[in-house]
């Protein structure tokens, strides 16, 4: 039963497929106080290696979905570079951008609204084939659609159904099939299991793992659910208020985190053991996430950090190496490790 998958460090030697360097995304908003800037993503860097899953964790407002959208170029980055095998895709336009969009595919959170309600499933799945002219004629196209449905364990006759005739889990399978249609290298899974029921979530996560193994896919698994991220990922990046807090191989993050925010997040998750859950000592984070319109100076987490000192408000902490492949953006790493 316990067939061990994603045993790490699976991919340390794999080549880097996508390299995000100092990514910045700002939005202008017009509010009561005039024109303001939302600092959605600030100076984020990470690499995606071929065949790995990088978990991207954060609470609402952390900017994790903005990163997903920026990689797909659904939002335009305001700074930094997104290098896909040597090409900066952050500034591409027209047909160059279109060809990049074949190599990256996205699966969205809500399978109910991610499919056109007026369009049959088969047509939705075939869209990448049509857009990138990947099939010659209707016969080849429907053959590919059948193969894709089979890949996500759905029967071929589903091609003729409409989305409202499917359950949530089935729709998410369809969305995955559509994402696979263009034969992408990288799949961006933006809270792809968050709106599903527990038993269906497991089906989808197992399917995704299975597909990764069979097709050699690279995943960016964006989620607020630390347990799901632990299950899915090889490495994990933790974000708070648009900034990187910690990035680390999975097991190290969950057992030897070197950042106070990661530790607070882990402490907040209910354990599946009522006795341990009630007896555990934990420091709950106080207060609320500050507004991204006006993030705190220095370390953005300092206003809620249990170990903040005066110095934290002065400098933005750099991500320092605390272990192999393990970086933490905290100036008090030794103290954090004692938490």
């Amino acid at each position: 039963m316990s067939e061990v998958r994603n045993s790490q460090p699976a991919n340390r030697d794999e080549p880097v497929l996508l390299s995000v360097q100092n990514l910045q995304v700002h939005f202008a908003v017009r509010g009561a106080a005039g024109k303001q800037t939302v600092h959605a993503v600030e100076d984020i860097s990470f690499d995606l290696k071929r065949g790995e899953t990088l978990g991207l964790v954060g609470e609402s407002g952390s900017g994790k979905s903005t990163i997903a959208n920026a990689l797909m170029r659904l939002e335009d980055p305001t700074g930094g570079r997104i290098m896909l095998e040597g090409i900066d895709i952050a500034t591409l336009r027209g047909s160059d951008l279109k060809s990049v969009r074949r190599r990256l595919a996205m699966v969205f959170q809500d399978p109910f609204s991610a499919l056109n309600p007026r369009q049959r499933i088969g047509l939705s799945i075939a869209e990448p084939l049509v857009v990138h002219k990947l099939a010659n004629g209707g016969a080849e196209r429907s053959k590919r659609v059948r193969e894709l449905l089979d890949l996500v364990n759905l029967p071929a006759h589903f091609a003729d159904r409409f989305p409202h005739e499917l359950s949530g889990g089935q729709r998410q399978r369809v969305c995955i099939a559509r994402a696979l249609a263009g034969d992408p290298d990288i799949m961006i899974l933006d809270e792809a299991t968050a709106s599903l029921d527990v038993s269906v979530q497991a089906q989808i996560m197992n399917l995704l793992k299975d597909l990764q193994r069979r097709l050699g896919l690279t995943y960016l698994f964006v989620s607020h659910d630390l347990a799901a991220v632990e299950y899915m990922s090889h490495r994990v990046l933790v974000m708070y208020l648009g900034r990187l807090m910690e990035i680390s191989p999975r097991d190290e993050l969950y057992t030897q985190s070197a950042h106070p925010y990661t530790r607070a997040l882990l402490a907040a998750i209910p354990l599946a053991d009522p006795v341990a859950e009630r007896s555990r000592e934990r420091t709950l984070l106080e207060g609320e996430v500050p507004s991204p319109l006006n993030p705190p100076s220095g370390c953005v987490f300092r206003t809620r950090c249990p170990i903040a000192v005066d110095e934290c408000s002065e400098v933005v902490p750099a991500a320092i190496e605390v272990g192999e492949d393990h970086n933490s953006a905290c100036i008090r790493v030794p103290v954090a490790q004692e938490l």
């Binding site: 990256l104 056109n116 857009v131 759905l154 409202h164």
Partner: protein, 308 residues
């Protein structure tokens, strides 16, 4: 108790997930027909359309058969709706005029529909400067009373049926543009549109495949309501002498001709008036019925009522 052998366990792939009982959605048409009020409106419309097509041959008298000896005769077995001041049969003229009303409605609303949908779609989807310019123009057109604007257009182009149709079409274009733009703005933000963008689809494909099919509901409803108003506008223009030119009849024209005989020959105004009233009412009722059926929330409510 026997140990259940592992092999017998239902080793079903997750795909055996059954679809939630294949939606028991009744077809839209059946729902429309189940509503008695809508059905009534539909029956009236069918009669009017039949009159428009076959009126010429069904009419007992020619529309311009003058019979001065029989002028201003009240309704009788020979002349069901009476005769006018030249002895022409009012029933025949009302029947044949259905053609003009339906023609004006269809042509002018088709014009407004096509122009409005194109403008509204582009403005709503691309937004920005284009949207700002187009919608300000629409606002300007809106600021004029409908009839005044139509009058101005007819005044420039000269009276007659074609100009009346064009004028009415122009007047209704911004209404369609607004409805379509608002719906487009809503659909544009749907994740399935975002998904299509992320795939690399062109704007044309997205507009054609994802946006347009999802805004047909409001467009159909607006069309049926506009047809009613277009017929009213034609009647008003003809009443003012700017639409159909004599001796051709139209319902509005007949009202215009009857204005001097309101006290002496009521039938000259009542029957064409009634024809306008019933046709407009019918279009409105059918439009309401369609809106209820095409709006998913209304529709669920209707279905629930039917189940009960």
């Amino acid at each position: 108790m026997t140990q259940p052998p592992v092999a017998e366990k239902p080793d079903r792939p997750p795909s055996s997930e059954e679809a939630p009982v294949a939606s028991e959605r009744t077809s839209a048409w059946r729902l429309v027909l189940a509503n008695k009020v809508t059905l009534g409106g539909l029956v009236v419309l069918v009669v009017v359309v039949l009159a428009a097509i076959f009126g010429r041959w069904l009419a007992p008298y020619g529309i311009n058969d003058v019979d001065v000896t029989n002028a201003l005769a009240p309704p009788s077995a020979a002349h069901w709706f009476g005769t006018d001041e030249l002895g022409r049969d009012v029933f025949s003229r009302v029947l044949v005029s259905a053609r003009v009303s339906i023609l004006v409605g269809l042509v002018s609303v088709s014009f407004a529909l096509v122009a409005g949908v194109v403008v509204g779609l582009l403005a709503g989807f691309f937004g920005g400067k284009l949207d700002a310019i187009v919608m300000r123009c629409a606002d300007v057109l809106f600021a004029f009373p409908v009839l005044l604007l139509a009058l101005a257009i007819v005044a420039v182009l000269g009276p007659g049926l074609p100009t009346a149709m064009l004028a009415i079409g122009i007047v209704y274009t911004p209404i369609f543009a607004r409805v379509v733009r608002a719906s487009t703005l809503g659909v544009r933000e749907e994740p399935f549109v975002k998904a299509s963008v992320s795939i690399g689809a062109s704007s044309g494909l997205i507009l054609r495949r994802h946006i347009l099919p999802n805004i047909t509901g409001p467009i159909i409803v607006q069309t049926s309501l506009s047809l009613a108003f277009a017929i009213l506008s034609e009647a008003a223009l003809s009443f003012l002498g700017l639409g159909v030119q004599p001796p051709d009849p139209s319902w509005g024209r007949m009202l215009f001709d009857a204005r001097g005989f309101l006290g002496t020959a009521w039938w000259m105004s009542v029957f064409p008036g009634l024809a306008i009233f019933l046709t407009v009412l019918a279009f409105n009722l059918v439009g309401d019925g369609l809106r209820d059926v095409l709006d998913p929330r209304h529709r669920t409510a209707i279905e629930a009522r039917r189940v009960k």
